[in-house]
Structure formats: structure tokens, C-alpha cells
């Protein structure tokens, strides 16, 4: 079996599972946020059970419309706080957490080999730590709150072996964008995507999270990286009990895949997904005539400390071009605090970027930093669909923190390596 099959077999009490088989699985952790949680709470109440199945295995995180941007949002937050209190569920409130997909791994809620479902499509991010994690809707989250169980079809798997070293200013974001460009937006529909190879082994948890995060943009059910020493180091300081061995959590040599891709990142250039689909991918160097009005660095895809460090490296001593708004949003309070300590916030503010509190921000067009018609934004987030970040007549380009930072300086989409050349 491959690693995803092994986790699903364990979760459903079986020794073997096959792609296409429907299993009734026990969930180890379920998450909902402020935009999916309220419907889940309503559905839970209609199911007619008094108590959740296990209050220690449910987490609610306020991250989308925070701090509350309207009375409506405030009421929804109030409702979630009340539910969490009644059921004694852990809720990460405004200022205590940040973006759900950053908070879950950071606070030790994601362990290798576990089955995690979340009422958010980017729940697949947690595969970076060797969990089987997938997105569900609100009603299904309510059903899990009540029963702890979910039916899942065992997915077919695609394996992506990656080798080679990234060039300077080329990042895991560029890798996943190039993969989505190859696989297309529907190419991994219903499937599991497993990342392996020397490049992945040498990659930080942050980079692996960026990869797994965007597997849903090619339709995947989950993205996953076999846990290793990097995973162990990340988790050791975040959980209070000893970490179980996860030696068996790797794909067998005879595991089956519907497709195996062999990639080499050595020659990979900075990549950009152009409007208005994530698989419309081109090298940044080919887009240098595209002017921008907004640059956004943040989100569950690229709002981690490593991302901010990279952006700061480029913005240090430079100015955000007149006519461009640069918005920086650390993915969590922990990232925010670390960025402060490292002096990154000073670099951003000195450059003329605005730094906002940890939340999803402009990524989904629900709160701050929305776009007007005819405007263009280059963003480190994960979706560039029509209307995603505001007006249906705005354009969104997706890129790495390095490309977005470089573009903020020049006012047009810019290969970050171009700035290096002009310096020398």
C-alpha cells in the first residue's frame, strides 16, 4: 500500500484497502472555521444529539473574517464561541491563533498517520506532516462532530518524485505552480498526490505545507509527504507527549500509483499562475509587462516565517513602487511574533508595505484588501478565480513570496532574479 492507503486502512480498522473501495473511517481530528463553522453548528443542532462525540478532537479557529468586519460576522463569531463553550471545544479566538491551516500544525493538532478532516478545502495542507487530511463541507463536519466517522473512497494515487536544488529565489511555490500547470486543474481529481524524492526530503515543513496546500488546486483529495526527521524536529517542540514511531508510515516499494512523475527543479524558473485559473502557469520572466496595483504576501499557502524572511530579503532597503499597495499578513500570531523579533516588520513598514493582523485577509475577497474593477494583484495565495479577491473584473496572478516582493518594488510582475542582476 502507499502511505495514504495505510492511513485509511488503519482509520477504518482494516489491514488492506484498495483504490475505489469505500471505507467507514474513524476521524482523529476535525476542524472548522468562522465561515464554515456556523453552518456546521446549525446542522449539528438539527442532528439532535446533545454532545459532540469527542470534544478533544474538534478544533474551531476564527480566521476568515477577523477581527469581525461586520455585525453579521461578529454574530457568527459569537455563535461559535458559545458552541465551543457549551461543548468544551478548543477555539482559537482573534489574536490567539491565526489562519487555521497554520495553527493546526503549529499547535500540535496534526500528527503523522492520523486522519484529519476540516471544513475548508485547504485542509490538505496537513499532509506535509504525514497525515491523511482532506477538506469537507459544513454539514459533513457536523456529522463528524456527532459521530466521529466519515465515509471515504480510497483514492488512486499519483506519485511525484522531485530531485535537484532550487536556484536562488526559486521556491516550493514555484514547484507546485509548475506541477499544477502540467497536471492541470482537474488532473488529480479524486486522487491522492504523494511527494517524494531528495528535494522533498531536504525541504522544510513550511515548503512541504506549500506543496500539499495547493494539491486541491489540481483536484486532489489529499497531498502527502512521508514523515521523516524534518517532521520529527518540527513536531517535537509542539506536542507535550512523546512522538510515536512513524517508521512504517511510508509507501511500500510495491505500492501502486496511477501515475508517477519525475521532476528536476534544477532549471526551474519562478512561476506565475495567470488569470483566471491556477493551471494557467507561465514563467515570471515572460510576464514583465503586466503592471500591478496590489501585492499580497500571506495566506495558508505562503504566510509562514520562511516566506516573510524571503520577502524581507528582497524588500530590505527598497520601496514599494508608487501606485502599488503591498499587504503583508503573517499566517499566525506565532509567525507575527517571530517576524517582529527578527526585525522583518520594520523592513516591511519601511518599504511602505502595510502589515495586518494574522488572518486570511484578501485571499478570499471577504474582508480586507479587496480589488476594484480593472485592478491587478499579484498574490502568494492559492486561487485566482474570477471575483476571488473582489471585483469580478479584477485580475489575480499567483506567485512565490520572492516574486510578489520583487513585483511590489517594480510595479509589474517581476522575476526576483532580475533585481539581483540590476544590483550588480
Amino acid at each position: 500500500m502507499n502511505i495514504s492507503e495505510k492511513i485509511l486502512a488503519k482509520a477504518s480498522g482494516k489491514t488492506l484497502v484498495h483504490p475505489g473501495e469505500i471505507v467507514d473511517a474513524n476521524v482523529d481530528m476535525v476542524m472548522a472555521h468562522d465561515l464554515t463553522g456556523p453552518l456546521a453548528v446549525e446542522a449539528f443542532k438539527r442532528i439532535g444529539v446533545d454532545h459532540v462525540w469527542n470534544n478533544k478532537k474538534i478544533v474551531i479557529i476564527l480566521d476568515h473574517q477577523v477581527p469581525a468586519e461586520s455585525v453579521k460576522a461578529a454574530e457568527l463569531h459569537k455563535m461559535l464561541r458559545k458552541f465551543a463553550k457549551e461543548q468544551n471545544i478548543r477555539l482559537y479566538d482573534v489574536g490567539k491563533g491565526g489562519i487555521c491551516h497554520q495553527v493546526m500544525p503549529e499547535k500540535g493538532h496534526v500528527l503523522p498517520g492520523t486522519l484529519i478532516v476540516g471544513a475548508d478545502s485547504h485542509t490538505c495542507t496537513y499532509g506535509a506532516l504525514g497525515a491523511f487530511a482532506t477538506g469537507i463541507g459544513s454539514t459533513e463536519a457536523a456529522a463528524v462532530f456527532a459521530t466521529g466517522k466519515i465515509w471515504l473512497k480510497v483514492p488512486e494515487a499519483i506519485r511525484i518524485n522531485v530531485k535537484g536544488r532550487f536556484q536562488k529565489y526559486v521556491t516550493p511555490k514555484d514547484l507546485i505552480l509548475s506541477i499544477i500547470g502540467l497536471v492541470r486543474a482537474d488532473g488529480a481529481a479524486y486522487k491522492s498526490v504523494e511527494f517524494a524524492g531528495s528535494t522533498i526530503r531536504g525541504m522544510s515543513v513550511a515548503g512541504r505545507m506549500t506543496l500539499c496546500n495547493m494539491t486541491v488546486e489540481m483536484g486532489a483529495k489529499n497531498g502527502i509527504v512521508a514523515p521523516d526527521v524534518v517532521t520529527r524536529k518540527f513536531l517535537e517542540r509542539r506536542i507535550d507527549k512523546p512522538l510515536a514511531s512513524f517508521k512504517s508510515l511510508r509507501s511500500d516499494v510495491d505500492a501502486s500509483y496511477v501515475k508517477v512523475m519525475e521532476l528536476d527543479v534544477t532549471g526551474l524558473e519562478p512561476q506565475v499562475a495567470c488569470p483566471s485559473s491556477v493551471d494557467n502557469v507561465k514563467p515570471a520572466s515572460e510576464l514583465s509587462n503586466a503592471p500591478i496595483e496590489q501585492a499580497f504576501i500571506g495566506s495558508c499557502t505562503n504566510g509562514r516565517i520562511e516566506d516573510l524572511q524571503l520577502a524581507a530579503q528582497i524588500l530590505k532597503g527598497k520601496k514599494v513602487k508608487d501606485g502599488v499597495r503591498a499587504i503583508v499578513i503573517p499566517a499566525s500570531q506565532e509567525v507575527y511574533s517571530q517576524a517582529l523579533k527578527e526585525g522583518l516588520m520594520e523592513i516591511f513598514t519601511d518599504a511602505g508595505a502595510i502589515v495586518c493582523g494574522s488572518a486570511c485577509g484578501p485571499c478570499l475577497g471577504g474582508h480586507i484588501g479587496l480589488l476594484a474593477s480593472g485592478e491587478t494583484c499579484v498574490s502568494t495565495s492559492n486561487r485566482n478565480f474570477i471575483g476571488r479577491m473582489g471585483s469580478t473584473e479584477a485580475n489575480v496572478y499567483l506567485a512565490s513570496p520572492a516574486t510578489v516582493a520583487a513585483s511590489a518594488v517594480t510595479g509589474r510582475i517581476t522575476d526576483p532574479r532580475e533585481l539581483e542582476t540590476t544590483k550588480t
Binding site: I22, L35, T36, P38, L39, E42, A43, R46, I47, G48, V49, H64, Q65, S70, K72, A73, L76, A119, D120, S121, T123, G135, I136, G137, S138, T139, E140, A142, A143, A146, T147, W151, A185, D186, A189, Y190, V216, G219, K221, S277, L364, G365, G366, L370, R383, F385, I386, G387, R388, T392
Partner: protein, 165 residues
């Protein structure tokens, strides 16, 4: 379970941001959501859907965000079911869970035009274009999913199953 209605056809990769833009996610009443169904593609859609239409989609229908508000908006706007080449998995589950029937049917995009009268037999897994007199074979839903749909959604299904215990 059978459904009949006039088709409104969309293309490939219809995402949940165009089905229901993020700014409307704070609306809790499905009737309010329905007013913005398909806002990203056709602002007149809610008016057209009122009569009880069948949405025909291409590949990867409902991709993107897990927002259940997307199928809810379609259902309350008057959509009776969605037939697509294939669905994004979260949308597929969400639709079933809120009681909006969905069926995969390869070849549907080429076989149906907006305005055609279409009927769907979910038990048989058959889609009929009554206007053109053509029958297409869809993917049959497993019995437990048909049961969720005939109960009206997952909440109702769970209520029934839990009360039997």
C-alpha cells in the same frame, strides 16, 4: 428518484467562488444565498433558475473552496440537480449532504444545450435529453448515497439512523 427540467449549461472548472463569491458567505439564510447564485458567471441566473432548472456542467464542476453555501445557493435558487462530466469531490459531497442531487455523466457537455429539456433517473443512472431524444449513461450513485438524497440530506439521514439505534 427522477428529476426533469430545462438545462442551463456551463463550461469546465466552474469554481465555487463564481457559484457563490466569498463576500456572501456571512449570509446564513439559504434564500439570501440563492439571490447570488452563479454571481461570478451570470448575474441573471437566480431569475432564470426559479422555474426549476437542471444545471449542466463540464469537467471538475464545483472546484475550489469547500463552501457548502455554493450548492445551497444553487438548490434554493431553484436548481433541481446538477449533471456534470465530473465533479470536484468536496462539491459533490456537499451537494449530496444538503440534498441537492448530482450525477456524473461523461459526454453531457456535448449532448446538451441550454434550453434543452432534460430528465435524470438517479436509480438507473440515466440522463435523457428529451429535446434531442438522446439517452446518456451516468455513473450510478451507491445505495447509501441515494438513501441520503431520498432522506433530503445528511442531517435528516443521520437523524433517522441515530433514532433507530
Amino acid at each position: 428518484m427522477k428529476v426533469k427540467g430545462v438545462a442551463i449549461k456551463f463550461g469546465d472548472n466552474v469554481d465555487t467562488d463564481v457559484i457563490l463569491p466569498g463576500k456572501y458567505l456571512v449570509l446564513m439564510d439559504p434564500k439570501d444565498l440563492a439571490k447570488h447564485a452563479m454571481a461570478g458567471l451570470d448575474p441573471d441566473f437566480p431569475e432564470k433558475a426559479q422555474k426549476g432548472v437542471i444545471v449542466v456542467g463540464g469537467k471538475n464542476f464545483g472546484c475550489g473552496s469547500s463552501r457548502e453555501q455554493a450548492p445551497l445557493a444553487l438548490k434554493y435558487a431553484g436548481v433541481q440537480c446538477v449533471v456534470a462530466e465530473f465533479f470536484a469531490r468536496i462539491f459533490f459531497r456537499n451537494a449530496i449532504n444538503i440534498g441537492l442531487p448530482v450525477i456524473e455523466c461523461r459526454g453531457i457537455s456535448a449532448a446538451v444545450e441550454t434550453g434543452d429539456e432534460v430528465s435524470v433517473d438517479f436509480e438507473a443512472g440515466e440522463v435523457l435529453n428529451l429535446t434531442k431524444g438522446q439517452t446518456l449513461r451516468g455513473t450510478k450513485l451507491p445505495p447509501f448515497i441515494l438513501e441520503i438524497l431520498s432522506d433530503g440530506g445528511l442531517v435528516e439521514n443521520l437523524r433517522r439512523r441515530l433514532s433507530k439505534r
